[in-house]
């Protein structure tokens, strides 16, 4: 994993959105790398900035957003590249699967055109050739009777079918990287696994990179090489998926794991809820942003600049002042937890 430059290299990315009440720091100094063919999970609560990160990479930010840092994709900085050059990359190089296919498919445009228009534009093939390829794609993503589906409108299909079609659209121009933003949140539980397995299958068969965004840690557990955890616009922990799951270091990751009911969770933990809510993204706490909700909080947590990623074993990095697994901190956790019952 050394030597070759990563496929996607995000460096100190800030994405701020101007509002009347001051800038919302949706993404606030995040770095992340994705190697070719690698699957990376990006996890966090809604509002943690993970979707905004994906939108920044794709250049889909609202007009009032501003960015700094760099997002290098195949050597091109997506933040400063011209609109035309970015359009040339979107589709054949990087593609995105949206959360709710019911809303991400144009309701008044037939499925066929929505799959083929990108191919016609990027691959320079004819409409009929694109049509043939679309049939193949639909077969690949498991849509039955593909030829007929092409002339359907999205509302004529089930949610699971629509998400398969979203994936087919994303795969149409054979991208090197696929960003899947909560691809199963809008689906029935029974369909969720099918879609995830489908993503897994096309990724391995095509050797594609994948960024799998989810609020559900369990969902990315078995399906990614590495996982990154975001909280309130900051990266709090990042490392090999197994390491992060087995020995979470950041207090937030630990709490998140404990509060996720999932069969995939490696160790049986008691269900726990994280008290409080995300900080105001316009006025985040000066130090660690999780501190106000953290049971291990000390004064040191409130110093600005403490929440930077620290190196660890096997590239397992975290931004916690009092990482779990530190004996002193555990005692402190208990003390604070005991104290909390009196407040």
């Amino acid at each position: 994993m050394t030597g070759a430059p990563p496929l996607l290299q995000i460096e100190d990315l800030h994405t701020w959105i101007a509002t009347d009440a001051g800038p919302v720091r949706a993404v606030d100094g995040v770095s992340l790398e994705v190697a070719a063919g690698e699957a990376v999970g990006l996890v966090g609560e809604s509002g943690s900035g993970k979707s905004m990160l994906a939108r920044t990479v794709m250049g889909l930010l609202p007009d009032r957003a501003s960015t700094s840092g760099s997002v290098l994709f195949a050597g091109v900085d997506m933040l400063t590249v011209s609109e035309k050059a970015r359009q040339a990359l979107l589709g054949p190089k990087v593609a995105m699967v949206f959360q709710d296919a019911g809303r991400a498919l144009n309701p008044v445009v037939r499925i066929g055109r929505q799959i083929t228009e990108g191919m016609v534009r990027h691959l320079g093939i004819s409409r009929s050739e694109a049509q043939e390829r679309a049939v193949g794609l639909l077969t690949e993503v498991g849509v039955p009777d593909p030829r007929r589906r092409l002339s359907n409108y999205p509302f004529q299909l089930s949610g699971g079918m629509r998400q398969r079609i979203m994936i087919a659209i994303a795969l149409a121009c054979e991208p090197d990287l696929l960003i899947a933003d909560e691809p199963t949140t809008a689906l029935d539980v029974t369909v969720q696994r099918q879609i995830l397995d489908l993503l897994d299958r096309v990724r391995t068969s095509r050797g594609m990179g994948l960024v799998l965004i989810s609020h559900d840690l369990g969902l990315v557990a078995g399906r990614t090489d590495r996982v990154a955890v975001m909280y309130s616009g900051r990266m709090v922990e990042e490392g090999p998926t197994d390491a992060v799951f087995d020995t979470p270091r950041h207090r937030y990751t630990e709490a998140l794991l404990a509060s996720t009911p999932s069969l995939d969770t490696p160790r049986a933990r008691r269900m726990r809820v994280i008290e409080g809510s995300l900080p105001d993204p316009r006025r985040p706490p000066p130090g660690c942003r999780f501190a106000p909700r953290c049971t291990a909080r000390t004064e040191a947590c409130d110093e600005s600049g403490v929440d930077v990623l620290r190196d660890g074993v096997l590239g397992h990095r975290h931004a916690c002042v009092h990482p779990t697994g530190t004996p002193g901190a555990t005692a402190l956790t208990k003390a604070v937890a005991a104290d909390e019952t009196r407040i």
Binding site: L90, A95, F98, Q99, R103, A104, V108, H122, F155, I169
Partner: protein
């Protein structure tokens, strides 16, 4: 969908019945005796009574209405007091002029407002957006009686591009016909352009915030392709409705322009009939226009369903 259509049709019929009743009743409920108004204060009581009997004003209101309705169903909208001509005949004779004016104005309004709205919505807050939006505000403040004389001054008198007034039938050559019809149509179109631009601009704005637009952009499609091929159609449903309603409204709403350019249309028929106190002609023409307006609006209402594939499915 069938139930929906049937409901609309029944409602339209009821509205037409009540509206035409109001039209007929208008002659009776007008303050003072209509006959006196018509004949002047110096009229003899005999003449007044004779006219009232001829107009049926001495009958009870409901009898007047059913009498009128019975005639109207057979195509008899009455006979003009002044010209002794059948009212429906004179309406139909003048209808083509007004229809052409309304259609032409509609085409101009759509052809101008759609690109204006697309350009504005493409980059919200940009100079193009501001100019386009401001022009629309100005257009809304330019009613026909303000803009028509000004257009005549600049384009006909100063530039000599168009005739100052008059009409040529299509039969006498399409070129000559358009030469006379274009300037009046532009005058009619200007406030419509403004209304269309504002509506489409607003609808485009909300469409462009939809996920499927982001998804289209994520496919690397160009801005103009997305605007025309992805955003326009889902944004245009209310515009199509408005255009339909405008068309209905313009049949009879072109009175001013017809007066400025002395065009032989439906509007000038009404204006002329009012001037000569020909209440029967006014009544017939107004009833005709109201019926046409309700019919067009109902068709637009039903047709709206067929525009949107989501609604269309429920029809099948």
């Amino acid at each position: 969908m069938l139930v929906f259509t049937a409901k609309r049709v029944v409602r339209a019929l009821l509205v037409i019945l009540f509206a035409t009743f109001l039209v007929v009743a208008l002659l009776s409920i007008a303050p003072g005796s209509l006959a006196v108004t018509l004949l002047g204060d110096a009229a003899t009581p005999d003449a007044v009574a004779e006219l009232e009997a001829r107009l049926g004003l001495d009958e009870p209101l409901w009898e007047q209405y059913f009498g009128w309705l019975g005639d109207a169903v057979t195509g008899d909208f009455g006979t003009s007091l002044r010209t002794r001509q059948d009212v429906l005949d004179s309406v139909l004779e003048r209808l083509p002029v007004t229809l052409e004016l309304a259609l032409l104005a509609l085409v101009i309004a759509l052809a101008v407002s759609v690109p204006m709205a697309l350009a504005a919505a493409n980059r919200p807050g940009s100079p193009i957006d501001r100019v386009s939006t401001f022009l629309a505000s100005v257009g809304l403040a330019l009613p026909a009686f303000v803009v028509a004389p000004v257009l005549v001054y600049f384009l006909s008198v100063q530039a000599g591009l168009f005739p100052v007034a008059g009409w040529e039938r299509v039969g006498e050559g399409v070129g000559a016909n358009l030469h006379h019809a274009l300037l009046p149509a532009i005058a009619v179109a200007i406030p419509e352009i403004a209304a269309f631009q504002r509506l489409l601009r607003t609808d485009l704005d909300s469409t462009l915030h939809e996920d499927f637009i982001s998804a289209a952009r994520a496919r690397g499609l160009s801005r103009s392709y997305i605007l025309w091929r992805h955003a326009l159609r889902p944004s245009s449903f209310s515009l199509v409705t408005l255009a339909g309603i405008s068309f209905g409204r313009l049949i009879g709403g072109t009175v001013i322009v017809e007066a400025v350019f002395t065009l032989p249309g439906l509007g000038s028929l009404i204006a002329g009939s009012i001037a000569s106190r020909d209440v029967i002609a006014v009544q017939g023409a107004v009833a005709f226009i109201v019926i046409a307006y309700v019919v067009i609006n109902t068709l637009v209402d039903i047709g709206y369903g067929f525009l949107d594939p989501r609604v269309r499915r429920e029809a099948v």
